[in-house]
Symmetry: C2
Subunit: 332 residues, 2 copies
């Protein structure tokens, strides 16, 4: 099977939002009047972002999910994406499953494939995604990292820590019971991009970012961009599915043998969570609850934004917790 047959068989689909899709030198996109385009690129590399033997269906899902997550963090509505794919070989069952996982998530978000590239090479998946953000009276409604203000509440969506827990288990660093590994692995391999929440937070959240490198590391980007500091109640961040089991059945029922500090590290620096971290004015808690409900996305208040620069961590007793949590860096 040649390059063009491969594209035609697995990746060429009619487009409805774009004027022109796969099959010419460029795709053509007409942004709606009164909107701007939000654009993001993510590259996934075998051995770095996924294991060689990962189920291609979940890989197709995750490749798009991490990009949708960037749109979510900007409050952008998904529109379209391009896919560039380096493949070591043409493996048709693999391609069919990858395309299945990719398009299932794309269709769920009304996000269409409009172009891209295929080449031979070490497995590498590069997606660039396009979303729409309203511009009202010259004012963009995009959620940025730079809008956090002192006094704002600090929230996270969903659960953080399970993806890293699954990774550590798959790397053989810890042992997990089968059912817990399955649950955690779903969070690692099929993250849920919080697109609906991002849209519901437009005009409400003062800043947002998606948690990809680790909660505290990504919070650091918001603090830097907004020139503020923050206080985080560390116990409130321990939200992983596994940690709930640990909390309710404390005593090592699952033989996890993780210390409290290790649970904390999973939550605060685990990474690969693709939850939203966002800030909102303290007098709008009811609106945040309503946005969470409307988007069917749990959110949790974990701290607040301070005038004082830097990051302060407090435990349940209000005591200071040293920040020894380092987030993920591809080159560190």
């Amino acid at each position: 099977m040649g390059e063009f047959d491969l594209i035609a068989r697995y990746f060429k689909r009619p487009v409805t939002r774009a004027t022109l899709g796969v099959g010419d030198d460029c795709a053509l996109l007409n942004p709606a009047p009164g909107t701007q385009l939000a654009i993001s690129s993510d590259m996934l590399v075998q051995g770095r972002h996924f294991f060689a033997d990962v189920d291609p269906r979940t890989l197709g899902h995750k490749s798009l999910a991490v990009n949708l997550s960037d749109l979510a963090a900007c409050g952008a509505k998904p529109l379209a994406f391009t896919l560039a794919l380096a493949l070591p070989e043409v493996n048709e069952p693999w391609l069919a499953a990858f395309a299945d996982g990719l398009f299932a998530l794309a269709d769920a978000h009304g996000c269409e494939l409009i172009g891209g590239d295929t080449t031979a090479g070490p497995l590498n998946i590069c997606i660039t995604i396009f979303g729409e953000v309203p511009v009202v009276q010259g004012q963009s409604k995009a959620l940025l990292r730079s809008g956090a203000r002192a006094g704002d509440d600090l929230y996270i969506s969903g659960t953080v820590g399970d993806a890293r827990l699954a990774l550590d288990a798959l790397l053989g660093k810890i042992s997990l019971p089968d059912d817990m590994l399955r649950a955690a692995r779903l969070r690692l391999e099929m993250p849920t991009p919080r697109v609906a929440l991002g849209l519901a937070l437009r005009g409400l959240a003062t800043s947002a970012i998606d948690i990809s490198d680790g909660l505290l590391g990504d919070l650091g980007h918001v603090l830097q961009a907004s020139s503020v500091g923050a206080t985080v109640h560390t116990e409130d961040a321990i939200t992983s599915i596994a940690s709930y089991a640990y909390k309710t059945r404390a005593g090592g029922l699952f033989s996890l043998n993780l210390s409290h500090d290790q649970w904390l590290a999973l939550a605060l620096a685990g990474g690969d969570d693709y939850e939203l971290l966002f800030t909102a004015p303290a007098d709008r808690r009811a609106d945040v609850d309503a946005a969470a409900l409307a988007s069917q996305t749990p959110v949790r208040r974990i701290g607040k934004i301070d005038t004082q620069a830097g990051l302060r961590l407090l435990n349940a007793q209000g005591e200071s917790v040293p920040n020894t949590f380092t987030s993920f860096d591809h080159f560190a």
Copy 2:
């Protein structure tokens, strides 16, 4: 040096066309009223698209050039691009030179870097580029592959064949004198995207494509998209810089030892040329000449579009030439 320092040092620059550039979850782009966006992605893989020891400055140039070439083929004006980069290691001199080559070409075209991704992994460069195309009275001015009509003239810009000649020399398949290798290698490593010509051909060319996989293979895409056939005068396509030397100093002065068929194959199926192949009505030859002059880009008429399906090749004597030229396919 960590991931964020790397981005800040080499790839973060102020933006003027985009509303928001590198440094948030998404970039924000406001297309001008009355325009649509042309979008294209290309992925370059070490060992496939370039040698491991290639000068990083030329690699930075070529990575963007192949994308600009796609905009040129659509008659789109360059606007912005994203860059996703997988690097085996952080090599600062390499990165500085790569960024130099990249931004020199970007600046020459007023095309700004607005976002992307960096990760560790086998060297892989994925650029997605954005250009502007006017929409006049609901009608897109984009040049497409599908507009060729019977009776149209068929043209190529510049020269084809040298890139493949250089590749064959670098692979040790043929031997070239130093000065000829230098000239041919420039065509391989620093192709000239024909952006100015693409813009000048708006409203004039009936179809266009850029020659990346080989002249006849790319022509095949136009014929298929336009449901037409074509006749090509093969001798007129032999335009490579090296072939001019061969033609004028025939007799093997450069010890190239290439047969006439090999010269033909370089021109018709060499690939990596990034010239434009386009069609225009036969009664507009003067306008095509004017467009070539205005864009300072040589163009050459090499055939015509026929009603009859399929591709016919004729030599200088008007005799049929069998089409044994296969263009590049990453998976063939």
